[in-house]
């Protein structure tokens, strides 16, 4: 098994007729992802990669039974698109674009909670269940089916971690890109609990970075978990208060420094890893 998405998920793409939407739809299908169609208002009736395009999510869901959506749209359209999907009954959304207005994400989160949906992103590389489905823009090469879950705020870190797990023979159940935006659809805590409930996942690697609060609130759930959690935090040597690319990666006062995050996670029972190669070493020690 895996979390959030499997080969049976019926995946639709919002913004399927756009450049990135079309390109990655074809890539996702190429990986074996069960993409059943897409939505672009005003382009209902067209096809992309032999999949039907609908004007509204409601129509797409009625016609195809879609239950997962990947959003490839300009940031300003994400709020409406995500809420449309949630209200049409989509239970899992992957929001690829970055620079989504923060207030918009608060609205999306509110709808998601009200309807029991899970939103990943924005500014995520996506979610992959190796061998089953690849949602988003992650390269196939790093991933192989296996027994460790990963959740990371950064796409590139996800690739390095998966690559390490693949090379060391552990493989991955599901790899979740939490996203790099300052307000995210889901938190580390929520994804960790998904992994906790997945029998196939024998350990989870969570990778955070300086800034934000999502690493800190993960410490609410880690003590309750039986699945071991390995934690990497980037930015231990980052200069304080300097902006380092990710909008979310601004040190917020004392909260948010990498050292504090690591210390809190270790206190909560997570196993800190400084480098990627420390991951298989730690897994071996834990007997995973």
């Amino acid at each position: 098994m895996a979390i959030l998405v499997t080969k049976d998920s019926k995946v639709m793409v919002q913004g399927i007729t756009g450049g990135a939407g079309k390109f990655h739809t074809e890539r996702m299908i190429g990986y074996g992802t069960n993409v059943i169609g897409g939505v672009t208002p005003g382009k209902g009736g067209q096809t992309v990669a032999e999949r039907p395009v609908f004007d509204t999510v409601e129509e797409c869901v009625l016609a195809t039974g879609a239950d997962v959506s990947v959003i490839f749209l300009p940031a300003r359209f994400v709020k409406e698109a995500a809420i449309e999907a949630i209200r049409a009954g989509i239970k899992f959304l992957v929001v690829i674009p970055e620079h989504i207005p923060i207030h918009d994400m608060l609205w999306v989160r509110k709808e998601a909670v009200a309807h029991g949906a899970t939103v990943i992103g924005g500014n995520t590389a996506g979610v992959i269940t190796p061998g089953e489905a690849n949602l988003g823009i992650m390269p196939d090469i790093a991933f192989t089916p296996g027994r460790v879950g990963t959740v990371s705020r950064s796409g590139s870190i996800t690739y390095y971690v998966a690559d390490t797990l693949t090379q060391s023979g552990y493989g991955e159940t599901t790899c979740v890109g939490l996203g790099g935006d300052p307000v995210l659809g889901s938190t580390f805590a929520e994804i960790l609990m998904e992994f906790e409930e997945d029998e196939a996942t024998k350990a989870v690697v969570m990778c955070g970075e300086i800034g934000g609060v999502y690493e800190e609130i993960a410490t609410d759930v880690i003590p309750k978990m039986t699945t071991p959690v390995l934690a990497m935090i980037g930015g231990v040597f980052a200069p304080e208060g300097k902006r380092m690319g990710h909008a979310g990666a601004i040190v917020e006062g004392k909260m948010g420094t990498a050292k504090e995050k690591l210390a809190m996670l270790a206190d909560a029972g997570a196993h800190p890893c400084k480098t990627f190669k420390a991951i298989p070493e730690t897994l071996a020690k834990l007997g995973v």
Binding site: I102, P139, I141, S156, Y160, T187, G245, A247
Partner: protein
């Protein structure tokens, strides 16, 4: 996007939050003539995009026009946390009876807007929050909810605004909240909200920080002269050059030039270099799906930096393509040339094509590649990091 105090107060005025009368001045003479016209004691306030302005001596009082001239002259020579003082806001000196703090921000953990208020404004609110948390009133509100007048009056009452000013105080809080929502703010603060000796409430300072990603829907800001700006203080020449090219870049103290993929490994890679005993010369982020031209410019920044002794490259292609990466490196090599060692690892999206392009270019002009060590997925990134540190030490003449 942080606004200047005077811009924040323009927004306050638009929402009818009471502010002092004011003038903005860009020169000593302007200050003199405004103060002479008013003929009253004034406060001269440096307009800079950073906090701690008061402690840094950026706010001064002057009893009259002559004193204002002297004080302004000092202020215009100040640089506060890297920001030169170019404008002063002139306001009447307030007769302060009590100071309050009112702020609105976002609680990212709870996904709520939150109003923070205190009867102890004017001082360091974070210090109060830490030492006397009971003196901070905190109210969470859902993004879909409005703030009602009675709720705001409840807050006003709790921070000690007197009964006869409750409606006014409550209205100020509601307006601040509405401003926050209307303009997609990340933070709005009145600190202090002043109760004057003659019983008026007035916003003596304004701190407004908007969400850059939502500015597109607030065209009126541009009409008010409020445009996207860079909030960094002091910048190096190279940082300015990078900013011009649109590349997130920071100079650091070391000698290893960091040429990473996304921001994630941009941050983590710096840690790795430290772990293996090296010092990065910079932070850099390629952004998602960089063009070959951009890749080439990133390398120019590093190659032309004399502090950089070795360049450490890492590309794990996701939304970015390895062929574009290779094209950019080759473009740089042909147009500019590499003057120092480059060790790099490339894998991910269409990596085979990237490798093919490198091989082609190398076959054509092997001399361009003489300082370059390339690796693929078979070499762990830690090993590349160690190699970069080793090369840097060699370059510095160490072991």
């Amino acid at each position: 996007m942080r606004l200047y105090e005077f811009e924040g107060k323009e927004l306050f005025a638009k929402f009818r939050i009471p502010i002092p009368k004011s003038r903005i001045a860009g020169s000593v003479d302007e200050v003199f003539s405004h103060v002479q016209e008013w003929g009253i004691p004034v406060a001269l306030k440096s307009q800079v995009l950073t906090g701690g302005r008061g402690k840094a001596g950026g706010i001064k009082l002057a009893e009259g026009a002559n004193e204002a001239r002297t004080v302004a002259s000092d202020l215009f020579n100040l640089t506060i946390k890297g920001f030169p003082v170019e404008r002063l806001l002139i306001e009447p000196k307030l007769d302060i009876k009590q100071e309050f703090y009112i702020g609105v921000t976002i609680d990212r953990a709870k996904y709520k807007l939150v109003i923070i208020a205190s009867g102890e404004g004017g001082v360091d609110i974070e210090k109060t929050a830490e030492e006397n948390p009971e003196k901070i009133i905190r109210k969470e509100i859902g993004i879909d909810e409005e703030l009602y007048g009675f709720e705001a009056m409840g807050i006003a009452k709790k921070i000690g605004i007197p009964s006869d000013l409750l409606k006014t105080g409550g209205a100020i809080i509601v307006k601040l909240y509405n401003l926050f929502k209307k303009y997609d703010a990340k933070l709005v603060e009145i600190n202090p909200l002043v109760l004057t000796s003659d019983g008026k409430l007035i916003a003596a300072d304004a701190r407004v920080s908007l969400d850059d990603d939502a500015v597109f829907r607030h065209a009126d800001l541009k009409e008010m002269g409020i445009e996207a700006r860079h909030e960094e203080g002091e910048m190096t020449e190279r940082e300015k050059q990078a900013q011009e090219w649109g590349i997130p870049y920071l100079d650091l103290g070391g000698n290893i030039g960091m040429f990473p993929g996304g921001a994630g490994f941009g941050i983590m890679g710096n840690d790795f270099i430290h772990y293996y005993g090296g010092e990065p010369a910079n932070f850099m982020d390629s952004g998602g799906g960089p063009s070959p031209e951009r890749i080439a410019k990133m390398l120019v920044l590093l190659d032309e930096n004399p502090n950089v002794k070795v360049i450490f490259g890492a590309r794990f292609g996701g939304i970015s393509r390895c062929d574009d990466f290779a094209k950019g490196v080759i473009m740089f090599l042909r147009e500019h040339g590499l003057s120092k060692p480059l060790v790099m690892r490339m894998t991910g999206n269409v990596w085979q094509e990237g490798v093919r392009l490198f091989e082609e270019a190398k076959a054509e002009s092997p001399e361009l590649f003489e300082h370059i060590e390339t690796h693929g997925i078979e070499t762990p990134i830690e090993q590349i990091s160690m190699r970069a540190v080793e090369l840097a030490k060699q370059a510095e003449g160490g072991n």
